[in-house]
Amino acid sequence: MKEVSFGQYYPVSSFVHKVDPRLKIIFLIAYITAIFLASNFYGLAACALVLVLVVIFSKVPVLKVLRAVRGVTILILFTAVLNIFFYRGEGEPYFQWTIFAVYREGLLFSAFLVTRLVLLVMLSSMLTYTTTPVSLTDGLESLLTPLKWIRFPVHALALIMSLALRMIPILSDELDRIKSAQMARGADFESGNPFKRIKAIVPVLIPLLISAFRRADELGEAMEARCYMGDKKRTKYKKLHFTWRDLVAFFVIAALVTGVVLLRVYLGGIL
């Protein structure tokens, strides 16, 4: 009953949720390109505007989107601090102590990098918030189709991915059960030194592995019993179709990339 979901998918119905997953993946790639093409704060402002639009039309709570940044806090802080203290600008530093020096350019550059990172992380998280893992794999499979020409097993790869995703909630349930059972027998996963804690995982890991192998075996047999052949031409239960929403999304991203390029050409760098 518990944990119907895993990962971050936020289950509401919205404009962004309904956009074709393939387009969402392309949107993300184009967005990342735009972020790195942006050479000044105006360009980043344009990217931020698009992010705000995406969040508004996805109905995902703003707090959840902000929370996505939490995971990379250390990376962001590290980048900021490094750039503030080691960027060598022209003119007088605001502050100097041995090899550390704070210049105006350093502050600007570090703010620029941090904004870039934050935008990047937030839009990537929007993809996983609004797309179920299953449609994400579907989208990837469809986008990777050209690789079939060089005999790359795209279908098998997609099958492996979707099976792996399918198994995550089952195994996490199983993990929960085994952990509870061993805790009821006095296993202690929280205290002791790291070495002890690693040792404490063994009674959970072994049963989990055994059950994972058993499940894989059973699944393989069930698929074979139904004469599953991966390399045959297969049809899809849910076909992906482009709709007006995808057209809107396409124009938004095209406008963003063009806008950022124009801003770069006409306004130059941040400094």
């Binding site: 009953m1 518990k2 059960r177 509870s180 805790m183 027998r185 006095g186 202690d188 049963p207 059950s211």
Partner: protein, 305 residues
Amino acid sequence: MTILAEHLSYVYNEGSPFAAKALDDVSLTIEEGEFFGIIGHTGSGKSTFVKHLNGLIRLPSSQKHYRRPKAKKGRPAPVEPVLKVGEYDLSDRNADFYGLRRRVGMVFQYPEAQLFAETVFDDVAFGLKNFEKKKNDADLEEAVKAAIEVVGLDYAAVKDASPFDLSGGQKRRAAIAGVIVTHPEILVLDEPAAGLDPLGKREIMDLLHRLHGDWCKTVIIVSHDMDEIAENCTRVAVFSEGKLVCALPPKELFLKAEELKALGLDIPLTAKLRLALKERGIDLDCDFTVDSFVRAVLAKRGEGQ
């Protein structure tokens, strides 16, 4: 140890779109010495209730008053949940959960999934080593031997065998041995006989009767098998949609065939036979064990002659 639960509620994934109410204001007392049954539909909250009993699911701490919803006008003030197992007050965040788990043994559904060690001996000894760290080898061996023998396995034959080489029923009994080895006062079993053949089922139920009394004072089983419940339990709690419907001895419970059917539950074969006889104008008075049913039938026949 007596189990006292009052106004117990639990919500999975609280505050998320997947929130699911698993327990809703459950109040229930289980006395020491009972062979208690818990029945209910899948997802009725049975397992969630049972997991509370040894602190695997904890109550929202009673010290965190600031997080509780304030009483609103026109609505009754929220009631504090209470859960006491013997002297352990589980609404206390700092309760000795470790000590509690030693005294409340928990056998989960398909317990053979928890086997992990290289030999049956090591697996059974796992709980004992966790709870009694300073036990010397001789005592340890004696306790493990007693546990393996009480579940009906041949100690000499299985102690050095891999638990994965045992048969299905043997695996389950080895897993139960791993729980009862610490002599818990309360033994909770979630579907102990699920997936076993009729012989295996009977062996498990016999085992539970062997354990009940001397080894574990109180036995609580969660089950779907009404015959098993009617035959063994002193009292039965019925759960539905997170709520406790009633807690009655089987003798009274299985008279309510219609209500149980409405909850999606079955009745034992003896109760079905009693209903069929009733339709034909024969009213039997029995407590729904096979033995008492046969007695009642024979008594009726005696009257008829």
